[in-house]
């Protein structure tokens, strides 16, 4: 059916990546460049009484020092979101109040990194230490107020109460939960907990800036959101947008961690003041402590149901730890409900209540899964509990109760991102097929029975086996908010420039977008010279987040290519002395529909249009925004072995059947799923932030934090099960985030199958598992 789409085409930057040819931010250096180092707070909560930088300023090679003393106090949010941002304006680039260990104190620019680092040691900072809040449950209404009299405010009209330490609040009600819960014959309430986590993109955050020949500021940065960087730097550094160019080179992974505008304003200010290039590269420890992480979450599920398994009432109450600043606080919170609750859309009485609170711990931000991961830990387990109690098979349960094509959920409209959501009817879904296929590939029915308590298989054994599963959904872009655009022009030889604001952060989106354009124009993927992203030369795109690029930017590219197609057909027809409706595209040529021998090549067409007659540039631009955020769906099946002596959970087998609509590139799509699954597994089993009693992160290296290596991974089988999403490019939906959500509930359900006990708190470390087993 397709020629270039749905084909496993090699990434267009693949060979350049694996031969070390591609350039990342830190690979750019300039003559006369300054090196920047940042001093971070060692206190969780403190006021700076004074900064004495005279010793540092006297050092040979120190050029500039930025602190609250010489940087205007402009409130902003570091969240790289659309404007006006749904995150509160509660952050100063360099302020006087330190709100977590890792907060910015000041920055030095010097002739070398060594001098800059040495200068930091010579800066005397006098702090007044304050009593911090280091427990999210103790924040709301605490006499300790984290944003006191600093003017922090919400940029959009949403609930915000800094005096009570509340960074965000969300509520949505469908039906009458209380009434239905009370009337339900069976009911339960359980609390769940999800830990902090770091993205651990292997490339650390980095930014380098310089002034171009006309005095404009150019910033090369590790960003998922170049256009938001331009806007936010303009605001914080008071440099006009017209004077700023932001370039995203190759990116060494992001996962949401680079949707934050942290380093760019610092280098921008250094360059703007000194007129010299400036580079700032964070150390791995700085990335762990000072950038953003996954929010810590407590969730409570209250479920009322009948003996036949019908859930009458479900309440999800979420408490989110925003950390010192409220970046993404509101939107992650809203997504904790909006990306989970619609899955079982036949529950008539739903309540979602959520609150994000400030603490003096590291700040949350965007992280693959974006609230959904945190909710699925509980959501996936309470469904399993209902099924176990009612003696139902969970796979059959999801097949019966999960949202179907043509159906809706009132949650879509009730929960938006800082405003009301957008009503949506599900178009494409192959969830039922995913459930069947996943069950088949994992031998679900046999194994569940074999490992279950009735079989006696695990009885008396040290090593107990279990199998568990979870059904999942996510979204594709933020409806009626995100926008993407693309520009294409044709070149003499029949090649095309495809310029997109979409930000390939390693996902392969440059390739996927070229495949979409290829399909429209019936020409080779190699014909496209893809450039992403550069605020001077590529049209606007909100950026790489919210699982949006393939679905949203892909549709912009498709529209743009369709416009180019019209122009090519028109010129081709003119050259063949035919009308445009008598010709068609055919393998990089325009051919007559009737007499196939009459043809002109793309090269001839472009040369004609540029040089010969009725000259014009074949070119087009197109934008796209969506009224829908069609969910991808997935069914994950996980088989585990629990060592009841050590508490170690070993994953034996992981099967994921995934509906991403049409996989534009099945290889890169599988890669997205596999990467997300492994990140999800590590998060479920051991990734966490461990803090000192004073709020300092202790495990701030890869070694101590623990990232899975090749040696740790279980056999993983990803099966893509197509559906066709009418609103997406060639039927595509998203795939980048959804698959991080399965490990927590899937492992917990497998653990129940193996041991009859429940894991409520992530990560499921050996210590925690032993504690649960001994209860």
């Amino acid at each position: 059916m397709f020629k270039y789409v749905n084909q496993p085409i090699e990434k267009i930057d693949g060979l350049a990546l694996v031969t070390g040819e591609e350039k990342y931010t830190d690979d750019f250096s300039f003559n006369n460049m300054l090196y920047v180092s940042v001093l971070h707070s060692g206190y969780a909560y403190a006021k700076i009484v004074d900064i004495d930088d005279s010793g540092a300023r006297k050092m040979h090679g120190v050029v500039e020092i930025l602190s609250y003393k010489n940087v205007k106090q402009i409130l902003y949010t570091t969240a790289g979101q659309g404007y006006p941002e749904p995150s509160p304006y509660d952050t100063l680039l360099f302020g006087k109040t330190m709100r977590f260990v890792g907060d910015n104190v000041c920055a030095v620019a010097a002739e070398s990194k060594e001098i800059a680092d040495e200068a930091l040691k010579k800066i005397n900072v006098t702090y007044k230490e304050l009593k911090p809040i280091l427990n999210l449950a103790k924040s709301e209404g605490s006499p300790i107020i984290i944003h006191k009299d600093d003017g922090a405010f919400p940029k959009i009209p949403v609930f915000y109460d800094a005096k009570k330490n509340i960074a965000s609040k969300v509520e949505a009600n469908v039906g009458d939960f209380d009434l239905a819960f009370n009337k339900s014959l069976r009911k339960f309430e359980y609390d769940f907990y999800c830990s902090y986590a770091s993205h651990c993109a292997i490339e650390p955050h980095a930014s380098v800036s310089y002034l171009d020949g006309r005095g404009r500021l150019v910033i090369i940065s590790t960003t998922q959101v170049p256009f938001h960087v331009r806007r936010i730097v303009s605001h914080v550094a008071e440099i006009p947008v017209s004077k700023i160019r932001v370039i995203k080179p190759r990116l060494g992974g992001g996962f949401g961690g680079k949707q934050e505008v942290l380093l760019e304003p610092i280098v921008a200010m250094m360059t703007w003041r000194t007129k010299r290039p400036a580079k700032l590269v964070y150390s791995r420890r700085e990335v762990f402590k000072s950038t953003r992480c996954r929010h810590e979450y407590k969730t409570k599920f209250s479920v009322g149901y009948e003996a036949d398994g019908k859930i009458n009432a479900l309440h999800l109450d979420a408490l989110e730890n925003s950390g010192g600043y409220g970046s993404h606080s509101l939107t992650v919170l809203a997504n904790a409900g909006s990306k989970t609750l619609p899955l079982l859309n036949k529950i008539d009485n739903l309540r979602f209540t959520g609150m994000g609170v400030y603490t003096n711990l590291p700040c949350g931000g965007a992280y693959r899964g974006y609230g959904a991961t945190e909710s699925y830990l509980g959501y996936g387990q309470v469904i399993d509990m209902v099924c176990n109690d009612c003696n139902l098979d969970i796979v059959e349960y999801y097949k019966k109760w999960a949202i179907k094509s043509g159906e809706t959920s009132p949650i879509f409209q009730a929960l938006g991102e800082g405003k009301e959501g957008v009503a949506m009817t599900i178009g494409s879904t192959s969830l039922v097929e995913c459930l069947d296929e996943g069950a088949k590939l994992s031998n679900w029915y046999e194994k569940k029975k074999l490992y279950g308590s009735n079989s006696g298989f695990n009885k008396g054994k040290r090593l107990k086996r279990g199998i568990g599963m979870a059904a999942l959904m996510q979204g594709s872009a933020i409806p009626e908010i995100d926008m993407a655009s693309a520009y294409i022009k044709m070149n003499d030889d029949g090649s095309f420039n495809l310029n997109v604001g979409a930000t390939d952060l390693g996902t392969g989106s440059d390739t996927v977008l070229a495949q979409i354009a290829s399909e429209v124009l019936d020409t080779l993927v190699e014909s496209f010279i893809v450039y992403s992203s550069d605020t001077d030369f590529t049209p606007f795109d909100t950026g790489a987040y919210a699982s949006s690029t393939t679905y949203l930017s892909g549709q912009a590219v498709k529209k743009c290519a369709e416009e180019i197609k019209k122009q090519i057909l028109k010129v081709g027809a003119e050259m063949l002395s035919l009308s445009p409706d008598e010709v068609e595209l055919n393998d990089s040529r325009v051919t007559a529909k009737k007499q196939t021998k009459e043809e002109v090549s793309f090269a001839e067409i472009c040369q004609y249009s540029l040089y010969q007659k009725n000259q014009f540039q074949i070119q087009a631009a197109a934008s796209h925004f969506s009224q829908k955020s069609p969910p991808p769906f997935a069914a994950h099946f996980i088989e585990i072995e629990v060592d009841t002596f050590t508490g170690i959970i070993k994953v034996l087998n992981y099967v994921a059947a995934v509906d991403c609509g049409t996989p534009i590139n099945p290889v890169t799509a599988e890669g997205q799923a596999e990467g997300a699954i492994v990140n999800g597994l590590a998060y479920a089993l051991f990734e966490n932030y461990y803090f000192s009693p004073h709020g300092k992160m202790l495990n701030d290296t890869f070694g101590k934090y623990g990232v899975y290596t090749a040696f740790d991974i279980p056999p993983i089988k990803v099966k893509l099960i197509k559906s066709y999403e009418e609103t997406g490019p060639f039927g595509a939906k998203s795939i980048s985030e959804i698959n991080i959500n399965g490990a927590l509930p899937g492992i917990a359900n497998a653990f129940y199958n193996a041991t009859g006990k429940r894991l409520f708190n992530g990560p499921f470390t050996p210590e925690y598992v032993l504690k649960v087993l001994s209860e």
């Binding site: 090699e10 694996v18 031969t19 292997i202 390693g506 699954i677 990140n679």
Partner: protein
Amino acid sequence: MKLPFKINNKQKHLELLPNETLLQALRNNHFTEVKCGCNEGECGACTVLLDGKPVNSCQVLAMSVQEKEITTVKGIGTLYTPHLLQKSFAEAGADQCGFCSPGMVLASYSLLKENPQPTREEILVALDGNLCRCTGYVKIIDAVEMTAQKLHSNKLVME
């Protein structure tokens, strides 16, 4: 100061300070294909081969390896003359962001050079020092197996 080194089969003079690591010396002298992910010897992004053995170049003092053969990822194949292993990485989809790729390719190269037909277990052990956060390692392991398969079926010797 400027000192001679043997890098990718060529004599190169590196401008460096006596206390610099091999990673710093290489990157400061335009060998930016060697990446820095942690600078603490934990991620493997800075992997180079010293006399054919993979090491974390951030943990090696540059001046201590003047006598050794240093190989970066460009030493086994370039964009213009890619190695079979690099082609397999691209073909298998083992490259997402690509930041770990130079180190991952070199660790795999070193394995295949010594053991052209490794078991899956041997591959996992060989790659244990190289972190990747994008791929979940599945397609990286595929790429190494694919290369071994190509070596075997075409009766090739790992160059």
